[in-house]
Amino acid sequence: MSANPDRADAPVVDIRGLRVDLPDAGFDVVDEVSLRVWPGEVLGLVGESGCGKTTVGLALLGHCRRGAEITAGEVLVDGRDIAGANDAELLALRGRVVAYIPQDPPTALNPALRIATQVREVLDAHLGDWTAEQRDERLREVLREVHLPSDDAFLRRYPHQLSGGQQQRVTIAMAFACRPKVIVCDEPTTGLDVITQERVLETVRELCRRHRVAAVYVSHDLAVVSSLADRVAVMYAGRVVESSSRDELFANPRHPYTRGLLRAVPDLDGARSPVGIPGHAPLPGARTEGCFFGPRCQLCSDECRREFPAVTVVGPGHEVRCHHAHQALPGEAARVPQPAQALGELVIEAQGLSASYGGNQVLHGVDLGVLAHECVALVGESGSGKTTLARCIAGLHPDYEGRLLLGGTELAPRARRRTTDERRRIQYIFQNPYASLHPRHTVGRSLAAPLRLFFGLKGSACARRVAELLERVSLSRAAAESFPEELSGGERQRVAVARALAAEPAVLVCDEITSALDVSVQAAVLELLADLQQQMGLSVLFITHNLALIRTIADRVAVMSEGRIVEVRPTQAVLEAPEAAYTRELLEHTPRLDPQPSAVAAVLGPDPVDPVRAEPQ
């Protein structure tokens, strides 16, 4: 893997000092971005959401979303400056020289056009001098290359008639159809399950290699990038803060953000617990003076607060923008594994649960129980029925057969039909904290609702309890008066946890509660949940499709596939010796941060042993 930045041949992509502004709002989205990519090379562009990855990716095609504008810098693609190109030149470049694989294929494909039309029109637009037969031939060829059928019946399909993976392959086919020199992949695998993701990644990798295409691969997932990229650039708040070859970056990260990010990534193999970075990344317009990472940085000094660090070269092809690139991170205090609490009897139990949507049965006789003080992780690929099971338990999906028992008594299928106490004892935390809190209610009002409903609390008694709850989830009391929109995703999810705790429940059902969060924030929320579970002796049903998470949190793991539980065993046992073939497959395809765990372990040091972090800073 040649990560040599001093390659003799010219880079095919050369971005110099790119700045994209929002002229109306009066601030920049990205600035001072310089990147180079050589033919046949994959550059991984990582960063948390909102840091400007897509903006940079689109700038490579000379495109800005409405309201944004390239205001400085050059974007040289194959020697031509895209930033200064006129409309006609852009038309000729896009799709032909530089192509784009969009983030979300269901919305990126035109729902009203057949896929053949959508692939074919790229060829028609750019290969006008070819004969129709030649273009037809290329159409089928490129479909074969992305491992899609190329028969007429398939060509006549509409996007909605394809699976998510197939849709993504169509967009890849469109991008590769004219054999461009550069492709920009904007998180092409987000939203795909691990197995599909792996196959799509393989396809991209293979095509880039075969056609010597340079790729800019945008992703927020370090594990994915580590398995694909030759070189990696880390972005934070609109700036590239570190870039280097992949191996160097993972082995020797220098920016505190990169290091924090690596620590926050949950690890499937190791016994290392993910550690979050306090706070959250600022959005454009909310960035501070000096180093944007300063407020979250443990090394932050006055210098950092004053000015944004310039580029420092710390090694061959390894550039960092940090005043403290050479300083070691203080030893992170990490959690002591709590002595396992004695597990009690079954708190909640599903017996032979079969659920369906209309005529479509998605759960087939599921038996699963959670003991008192126990955390059971429910894993399985997307669409396997995890959410459906959770909704049944919560009383949101009454269309099921079989029985649900809470402490031995059968529950009514519909939440409304259950007693207040039954409703109180089961609490459900939703996947998306952006959707589960009423946007027009203050945090205090959201928290007051369960207090009013379950304990009849009002007035200052209620307010006092709200304040307690907020403190319990490490939020300030002042947060009671804020609206969800004023909180970051992680803070919102804490509020959601607090709301569930307000009911003093016996069982918490957590449906992918971290999947909408950035890695650095996800780790912090997981820590909080694990602490609470231990301290309050809650039973938790923790649903996730991210196997890497379960080691940290779960006592037992239930693996679900196509509406059936295929394996339920203690976590350690499942991870080390999976019994079901399906479990094995899942484990195999889960991307790992680095093929050589020892290297990472060396960087991150030994597992921190400090007591629980009560509050992130």
Binding site: G395, L396, A415, H438, P439, T442, L453, A480, E491
Partner: protein
């Protein structure tokens, strides 16, 4: 703003007393910053003021005869006389109250009922939704003007009847719009969350769903108001609405349409006023709609 980490002691106010910024106020406030809204407010505000204080300014009684019919503007009658020889200016100054108040009442009633029905239908789903929507389908298919004709002819001309018929036309339309908006809301997790906790239906609909549909509701209110004004005046214009000798803009057009060549003022003034009123209302509505979209976009960002 970040609330993480700091445990500073804030005085504990009862939750209910915590001042919740209302979405609609916020929308209106940001709408008021748009030029078109201001223009609309100016137009509507001016006409409302005119309607309210107009009668005090009127030089004559709106029903008094000040000269022969259809005379041109003179010292006595600044805008001339209408077909019966009454002062056009005085009648014009008196004629706004009925239009504005009837239209407003009809809009409040129709949009209120429609919104409640729409939200309940969206929330209840299934049979209740089916019945409510079928009913609204029937009401929608029933031509509104026929409804007005039948009811007014059947029960005689009563102001409340005009209000009710116009409202009856609005309710199903509003119900559809609000239902469509609420459909997506009821699927959101925060509604599910309230449901799981066992909140009452009433609270879910009015506390949970309603604050989420204030933008479409405001826009709908504006649109319906425009339509109310048009309909109330059209009914009077057709001669099925307000009764003489009421001074009313719609009626004035109908009464004096014939004399438009000799004495255009008695028609032009009310036509102008109605036009300004509806256009102004529409400008405000448009501003509100834009502001609402802007706020929502900022919020989802």
């Amino acid at each position: 703003m970040s609330f993480a980490g700091t445990a500073d002691d804030v005085a504990l106010a009862p939750i209910e007393a915590v001042h919740a910024r209302r979405q609609w106020l916020e929308t209106l406030r940001s709408a008021a910053r748009l030029r078109r809204t201001r223009l609309g407010l100016l137009m509507v505000g001016g006409l409302v003021v005119l309607a309210v204080v107009g009668p005090l300014l009127a030089p004559h009684s709106p029903s008094a005869f000040v000269g022969p019919g259809l005379t041109s503007p003179s010292k006595v009658a600044l805008l001339g006389t209408d077909s019966l020889g009454r002062d056009v200016l005085s009648r014009f100054l008196h004629g706004g109250r009925t239009v504005i108040s009837l239209a407003l009442l009809a809009t409040i009633l129709g949009v209120g009922v429609g919104a409640a029905v729409g939200m309940f239908a969206a929330y209840a789903r299934g049979l209740v939704d089916g019945i409510l929507m079928r009913t609204s389908d029937v009401l929608l298919a029933f031509p509104q003007i026929v409804l007005v004709l039948l009811l007014v002819t059947g029960a005689g001309t009563h102001l409340w009847l005009i209000v009710v018929t116009v409202a009856l036309g609005h309710a199903p339309r509003t119900a559809r719009v609000i239902r469509a908006a609420a459909m997506e809301i009821v699927e959101r997790d925060f509604i599910k969350a309230a449901e799981v906790m066992g909140e009452s239906r009433w609270r879910i609909v009015f506390g949970g769903i309603m604050p989420m549909v204030t933008s479409p509701l405001l826009v709908e209110f504006g649109l319906r108001m425009v339509y109310s004004i048009a309909l109330v005046t059209a009914v009077s214009f057709l001669g099925f609405g307000l009764q003489p000798p009421t001074a009313d803009w719609g009626l004035m057009i109908n009464e004096n349409r014939l004399g438009i060549i000799q004495q255009p003022w008695s028609v032009v003034m009310p036509v102008l006023a109605i036009g300004l009123l509806t256009v102004g209302t529409n400008l405000i509505t448009d501003g509100v709609a834009r502001a609402a979209i802007g706020l929502d976009r900022r919020r989802s960002a």
